[in-house]
Every structure is written in structure tokens, then in C-alpha cells.
């Protein structure tokens, strides 16, 4: 799929990153257009989480370039990334258990002007009425699904241009998965781009406009979700048959 002539919202070129000596990503080229929902798929250990961390500044970029919204964001700090509107909701619904739901959200808006914070928190909570009810409870008192909603809400406090969600469905019941993922549709309607890392293939394909498949630190496939034989092609990519042949498509 060709991207438009204008620079995409997120443009990643030849990105390499990893943990210490262990190189996980071997030169990733990757784009997300403004308002687009992109799913990043791939088997375990392929480097999906590593990629999100490198984009948001949680991991150092060893080489390559990350441009966001026309600016060079290679090796920006997570704080700079969040300020620029590149917001990363990390995996594992890691809310702060000792403080209240509202405080969790206020912290997400730490950099915002004091006057705006409360309004932003309300705005984020409007996406999730079920946790808005529990705003005075401690983060630790929420169920796993509610904690996941809270972390997504934390991301929304920033009014992101691109929201990166790392396995928001992990450990949730199917009903809750749909509930969390339904927010993606809402965001798309209001023009927010989403980069979704997801294990559940069908859900990801349903939510996204376009998919990338990452296998062993390389992008092996890139396609719009409208293509019909996508599951079969992904299967082949994962299991290693003709994996590099399909990368060219």
C-alpha cells in the first residue's frame, strides 16, 4: 500500500534496537498515517513490545530514525514523546495500586497546566463509564479489566495524536476485550491514530485498517486488512515458510 505524498504521522526507518548486547529489531521500516489504525502482529519474541518501547523512548534506539509529526523523535525521552502526542500504554495493566483512580489519571497529566488537568481527566473517564464510577477507589482495588481500561484512560489524558497499545487484551475475558477494543473505533472516529499490538488475530484484523507482521525482528508482511487471504499469509509468515517472499508484497 502506498502512503500519501505528505509525510506520515509516524515514520520509522531502519530502526534497530534491543536490550544491551541482544539486538531484537534488525532494521524496521514502518509508517502510521494520521488517523489510521495499524495493528502490529507477530509471534512471541518477535520484538513487538521492544518496538513500541524504542518508539516511546523507553529503550534506546541503536540506529535508524523515528520521525513523529514531522519532528525527529529518535531517542527522545518518554516524557518528550508523550508531550508530542506519541503515547505508549505499556502491557500488563500496570496501574499504580496505592493511589486512587483519579490520581492515576492526574499523574498522566502531570505536565499539563493545573487548570486543565481535571477537565482532561473527565474527558478520559468519559470513554470508560465503568471506571468513572470507581474514581475514588485505589488502583489496586480494580479488576484486571478495569485496570486495563484505566491504563488506556491514562494514555487518553494526553489527547494523543498516536496511541500505542501493547496487548490491551492480555488476560481479559472476551467481553472485556471487545469493550477495551471498542474504544479504538471511537478514537478513529475522532481522528486519533492507533498502533495496536495484539495477540488475538481476528480482533486485531477487525479493529485495524492495516497490519504489519513482525517475525524475529524483521517486518515480513504489510497489508491492508481488506485483503482476503490475510490469515493464511500470516500463518505462513509465522511458521517460516516463504517468509521473506511475502515481505515484498
Amino acid at each position: 500500500m502506498l502512503t500519501s505524498v505528505a509525510e506520515p504521522l509516524l515514520a520509522v526507518t531502519a530502526l534497530q534496537s534491543g536490550y544491551g548486547k541482544i539486538r531484537v529489531l534488525h532494521g524496521i521500516d514502518f509508517n502510521v498515517a494520521a488517523g489510521e489504525v495499524v495493528a502490529l502482529l507477530g509471534p512471541n519474541g518477535a520484538g513487538k513490545t521492544t518496538m513500541l518501547r524504542a518508539l516511546s523512548g523507553l529503550l534506546p534506539v541503536n540506529s535508524g530514525q523515528v520521525r513523529f509529526d514531522g519532528r525527529d523523535m529518535t531517542n527522545a525521552t518518554p516524557r518528550d514523546a508523550a508531550r508530542a502526542g506519541l503515547v505508549h500504554v505499556i502491557e500488563g495493566h500496570r496501574v499504580f495500586t496505592q493511589i486512587s483512580v483519579t490520581d492515576n489519571l492526574l499523574l498522566a497529566g502531570y505536565d499539563l497546566p493545573r487548570s486543565e488537568r481535571a477537565a482532561r481527566v473527565e474527558e478520559a473517564l468519559s470513554f470508560f463509564p465503568e471506571i468513572a464510577e470507581k474514581r475514588h477507589e485505589r488502583g489496586g482495588a480494580l479488576s484486571g479489566g478495569q485496570q486495563q481500561m484505566l491504563t488506556v484512560a491514562q494514555g487518553l489524558v494526553r489527547r494523543p495524536r498516536l496511541l500505542m497499545l501493547d496487548e490491551p487484551s492480555a488476560g481479559l475475558s472476551p467481553v472485556l476485550v471487545d469493550r477495551v477494543l471498542s474504544v479504538i473505533g471511537q478514537l478513529r472516529r475522532q481522528g486519533t491514530a492507533v498502533l495496536l499490538v495484539e495477540q488475538l488475530l481476528e480482533k486485531a484484523l477487525a479493529a485495524a485498517d492495516r497490519v504489519y507482521a513482525l517475525v524475529q525482528g524483521n517486518i515480513v508482511l504489510q497489508a491492508p486488512t481488506s485483503e482476503s487471504n490475510l490469515p493464511q499469509r500470516l500463518e505462513r509468515a509465522y511458521f517460516g515458510h516463504e517468509s521473506h517472499a511475502s515481505a515484498a508484497s
Binding site: K21, I22, R23, V24, P43, N44, G45, E198, Q199, L200, L201, E202, Q216, P231, L234, E235, Y238, F239, G240
Partner: protein, 599 residues
């Protein structure tokens, strides 16, 4: 296993030639020490004696701090203990007077005992906590010395022991102390170079891997705490004699700081470095007299600089060999065929069987009623999504986790839950998801660690470098070199392991595991981070290992590798067996495909 031993005589000569560059600095220092009386005056005899006495203590403490990595910052307490024990015994104010050469061994025994008492917390506490407990001990020993007036003379003090002729002159005593220092250097170097020294470093830098190779941490630590305590107490006796009169004030915490910092300035895992450190720190305030008051400040600055700028200390500065660049285009070229010379061929043998194994972390079920059989000579693949319980299964087998329910058997014998250090003796070896290799040790030493439990010499034999220890060393080194050839890393044998690439570390781990000549080998994602060429070579190596009759349990994400080499594959999902069978069966299994794709 015997096939790799070359002729001993040839090896002996080679060993001496190889050791000469390492030996030369020590011989140089000894020569300087012997020459000192001819080029200086009694003032320098005092300083030389002090340096020698400090080194007697530091040479033991070095094994605790530099090798085992325990931050014992209060060793002045054991110096105090030795000084008072010797002085009190010689003065005879409690028991009938004892000659000083009889009092010293008694002090050594007392010191060894207290060395263990002070050290025991190290079995459970690390870093700051242990440092604090030794600091606390140092505080109370001084307070007791002050309070126990009937024995120690309290604040007034007590005379130090006097040595008989010819050691009652400044230079006579100097030579006595130098002889002690030379002897303790020899002993501590023997320990450091033996499998015990390597095991200490292994426990320090790769504790989990050390356990898997069967190293018992408590035994190791107790041995060196005995040794270090005894040396510290002997140093105390000599120190008391040098002082001629001791009060609790003589044993300031600054001394502890000096000992401790000498080791860190010298560099961890080195003998020469801390020795130079001790000499430098002893002389420094003397040659810069106005600085004497600031000496502790200076030591502290040095410590900070070392920590922040040069963590390797003097030893790293002197390590010229590891500054030569390595070939950047090197490849790992295993020679699986050479395995036949080192690993014995097994015929049949017993299977490793897991029945009904369950494991939970809190409310999360990591493993749920798992059955698994690994047959000898077979490669058994274990695959599944993240969090499906693959590594947990390996950890249950190797004893890091104790299963909540179920049994494990090896042939007819049960495999007790927990107790990872006992697995090596049962013929189970493993590698780790993140390679657990000792960066500061050479590649060869890393591999030799795998064979620690095969050594037969005791700690004392190693300390005195008796024939059995030398045999052990030759056997382990030859076997390790052979295995490095098998995994294709022989040219890197003498390189520090932290200079290697990630993929090379994975092969070191396999070589280390093979040192046990294991019946079962557990591989935790050995292909992660490897290039496709390397994965191919790894596949050949694993096949060769199983070809010798070793059962291999392979946890892996690389589906191609699993389907390529495994005889049996078990697929886990949410801690349960989703499917089991041959690769051909698994490949077409609907649920497996969808679990992998997360459908």
C-alpha cells in the same frame, strides 16, 4: 572423557610457561621486599611490616570481597579479635601464659570461627544488608574491647605479644611478616585458581547458573569465611606485636576502609591488583605527610573514582591481553563430530518423566497438571505462546521452583522438588533464556565451571595445591577446551566472556552444560538472537548431542528449528498440554496453529 588428555609432562611444562607472565609481578614484588633492608632504614622496615601485615588480612578478605563479591566492610573487627586473643594469651592475664607461636594458631582458630559467624548473614543477605551487618559487628567488637576491662585492659590497653629472636628486631620481624604474606599469597592464589575460586566468582556473578552446575553456595562461603577469618586474626596477632601496646583506639574504622578499598582499587577477581592496592594505600600517607589526616578522605575519593570511572580497578589496567581487538568477522563453527571424543555414548538409559505437575504463583496457574516424558537420545520440543509455562516447566525440572503437586522421576528414582544444586549430580544440565555467563572470567573458565562437581580435591588440597587438585585442573581444562572445539569457540578460549557477542554466549552455555556429560540437557530458547546460519549450526549440534544418547528438552520460539530437529513436540497453552506428538502431527494441528496465531 579420557581421550582428550595429552601427555602430562608436556602439559606441565606448558602450564609453567603459560603461568610465567602472571607469576613475574609477584616474584618482582618479593624480590623488592627482600631487597628493602639493603636500600632503606628502620622507618621503612615499619612501613614494610605494616604493608605485609595488612596484606595477610587482605589476601583472605580478597576472596570474600573480590571473588565472592560480599561487601564485608567491617573486617577490622577480626583484626581486633586476633590482636586481643594473641595478646591476652601471651600476657597470661586469663590463662597461664602461652608462647606467641602457640597463641597465633589459637587466634587463627578463634578468628576462623568468628569469620563464619560474621559471614553467615551473607548466605541470606546481599549487598547493603550484609555490609551493614559487618559494620555493626565492627562497632560492637570495639565496644566490648573497651568494656571487658579484666581481660582487655579496657581503654588502658594491653601489651602486644613479643616474638622471640631472631624476630625481635625491626628487620627480623619484617622478614617474619613478609614470609607470612608470601605464604598467604600463595594459598589464596591457589584457591583462586582452583575450581573453588571459579565457583566463588560463579556464585557472585551467575548464582542461578552456579546452582545448576551443582555448586553449593553455603559450603563455598563457609570455607572462605573460615580462611579469611583465620588470616585476619593472624594479621591481628602480628599487628599487636608491631604496635607493642594495643588499645581499642588502635583499631579505627579507617583501617577497615583501607582493607576494603585496597581490594576494590585492585580490582575484583584479582590477587595482584589488591596486593598493589594494599601497598599503595599503606605507603600513600607516608610519602605525602601533610595528607596523613586526609588519608581516609583520599581513600574514599579513590573508591568513588574507581566505582564511577574504572570498575575493573588496577587489575583491568594491567590486563593487556584482553585489550587486543577480536576479529570482528569471526564465525561460530561447531564441530559436533568431536563430541564423540569427550562425551560418552549412552545406550538406552532411563527417561525423565513428569506426572501431574502443577505450579502456581499466587492465583496464577503457571503449570496445570502437566505430563511430560523426555526419552534418552531424543529431542523433545516444548513450544507455546508467552506465559504458557515453558520456562516454568524447565525451572520445575531443574529445581528452581517446587511444584505444588505431581511427581518427577528419573528412571525409577524420584526427583525431589526444589533443590536446584542437586540436579547436576543427577545428570541434568541446562542453559538459560538470558545467558548467565561470568563476564569477568575467560571463556575457558566459564566452561570449566560446568565441571565443578567432577573435581575430587578438597578445599584444603586446593589451597595447598596438592597433586589431586592439579589433576582436577588438568582434567577440567582439557575437557573444557575439547568442548569449546565442539561448539566452535576454541579460538576465544582465553578471552574475557563479556567481550563476546550474544550468540557466542549461547554456545558457551551449551559447552558449560556439556561439561557434566549430562543424561538430560534442558535448553531454554537457545536460538533466540541467533542468525539463521547460526541456528542451522545449532541444530546440527543439538542433533549430535542427542545422538550420544542424551535426552534434550528444547524450549524454543523458532518453529522451523523445532519442526526440523525434534522427535517429539509438546505444545503448552495456559500451563496445560494443548497437543503432543511428532512434528508432522503438530504442524497440522488446528488448535496449535490458532494458538500460535492467537485466533
Amino acid at each position: 572423557m579420557t581421550a582428550v588428555t595429552a601427555t602430562p609432562a608436556h602439559q606441565e611444562a606448558g602450564a609453567i610457561r603459560a603461568a610465567l607472565p602472571q607469576l613475574a609481578p609477584f616474584l618482582g614484588i618479593l624480590a623488592l621486599a627482600v631487597m628493602l633492608p639493603f636500600i632503606s632504614n628502620d622507618y621503612w622496615a615499619l612501613i614494610g611490616t605494616r604493608a605485609a601485615i595488612y596484606w595477610v588480612l587482605v589476601s583472605g578478605l580478597n576472596l570474600v570481597v573480590g571473588f565472592a563479591g560480599h561487601l564485608a566492610i567491617g573486617y577490622v573487627a577480626l583484626l581486633t579479635l586476633g590482636a586481643y586473643t594473641t595478646s591476652v594469651l601471651v600476657a597470661g592475664n586469663v590463662l597461664p601464659p602461652v608462647p606467641v607461636f602457640a597463641a597465633l594458631p589459637v587466634a587463627a582458630i578463634v578468628g576462623a570461627m568468628f569469620g563464619v559467624i560474621v559471614g553467615l548473614p551473607a548466605l541470606r543477605l546481599r549487598t547493603f544488608y550484609f555490609a551493614m551487618s559487618t559494620l555493626g559487628f565492627a562497632t560492637i567488637v570495639t565496644q566490648i574491647a573497651l568494656a571487658w576491662q579484666s581481660v582487655t585492659g579496657g581503654g588502658i590497653g594491653i601489651s602486644g605479644p613479643e616474638f622471640p629472636a631472631p624476630f625481635n628486631t625491626a628487620w627480623g620481624f619484617y622478614f617474619l611478616c613478609t614470609a607470612f604474606a608470601a605464604f598467604t599469597t600463595w594459598m589464596s592464589a591457589n584457591i583462586a585458581r582452583s575450581r573453588f575460586g571459579r565457583a566463588l566468582i560463579a556464585v557472585r556473578d551467575a548464582e542461578v547458573a552456579a546452582e545448576a552446575t551443582g555448586i553449593s553456595k553455603p559450603k563455598m562461603l563457609i570455607a572462605i569465611f573460615l580462611f579469611a577469618g583465620a588470616l585476619a586474626a593472624i594479621a591481628g596477632g602480628l599487628f599487636a606485636s608491631l604496635q607493642t601496646y594495643i588499645t581499642p583506639d588502635a583499631f579505627t574504622f579507617d583501617l577497615s576502609v583501607l582493607f576494603f578499598i585496597a581490594i576494590l582499587i585492585g580490582g575484583r577477581g584479582s590477587i595482584l591488583g589488591p596486593m598493589l592496592g594494599t601497598i599503595i594505600l599503606t605507603i600513600l600517607p607516608e610519602i605525602a605527610a601533610p595528607l596523613a589526616a586526609w588519608s581516609t578522605f583520599l581513600y574514599a575519593v579513590l573508591l568513588l573514582v574507581i566505582v564511577l570511572v574504572m570498575p575493573g580497578g588496577i587489575a583491568a589496567l594491567l590486563d593487556f591481553r584482553n585489550r587486543r581487538p577480536l576479529a570482528s568477522n569471526r564465525a561460530i563453527l561447531p564441530r559436533p563430530a568431536a563430541l564423540a571424543d569427550i562425551v560418552r555414548q549412552r545406550a538406552g538409559g532411563s527417561a525423565l518423566a513428569l506426572r501431574d505437575i502443577s505450579l502456581s504463583f499466587g492465583n496464577v496457574r503457571a503449570i496445570d497438571r502437566l505430563d511430560l516424558d523426555v526419552a534418552p537420545g531424543q529431542i523433545h520440543g516444548l513450544i507455546g505462546p508467552n506465559g504458557s509455562g515453558k520456562t516454568s516447566t524447565l525451572n520445575v525440572i531443574s529445581g528452581y521452583y517446587a511444584a505444588r503437586a505431581g511427581t518427577m522421576t528419573l528412571g525409577d528414582a524420584a526427583l525431589p522438588p526444589g533443590m536446584p544444586a542437586l540436579r547436576a549430580a543427577r545428570g541434568i544440565a541446562r542453559t538459560f533464556q538470558t545467558p548467565r555467563v561470568i563476564g569477568e572470567a575467560s571463556v575457558l573458565q566459564n566452561v570449566m565451571i560446568g565441571g565443578t562437581i567432577e573435581g575430587r580435591a578438597s578445599f584444603v588440597e586446593a589451597m595447598l595445591s596438592l597433586p589431586r587438585n592439579r589433576q582436577d585442573e588438568r582434567m577440567l581444562a582439557a575437557k573444557a577446551r575439547g568442548l569449546l572445539g565442539v561448539v566452535g569457540l576454541e579460538p576465544l578460549a582465553d578471552v574475557r566472556a563479556d567481550r563476546l557477542q550474544h550468540s557466542e554466549l549461547r554456545f558457551i552455555e551449551i559447552a558449560r552444560a556439556l561439561m557434566l556429560d549430562p543424561d538430560f540437557l534442558l535448553l531454554d530458547e537457545p536460538a533466540a538472537g541467533l542468525s539463521s546460519d547460526e541456528i542451522e549450526r545449532l541444530a546440527g549440534l543439538i542433533k549430535a548431542i542427542s545422538g550420544r544418547g542424551t535426552g534434550v528438552l528444547l524450549v524454543e520460539h523458532h518453529a522451523d528449528l523445532i519442526f526440523d530437529i525434534c522427535h517429539q513436540v509438546t505444545v503448552l497453552n495456559l500451563g496445560r498440554t494443548l497437543a503432543a506428538g511428532t512434528p508432522a502431527e503438530i504442524r497440522v494441528h488446528k488448535e496449535v496453529v490458532s494458538a500460535y496465531l492467537g485466533g
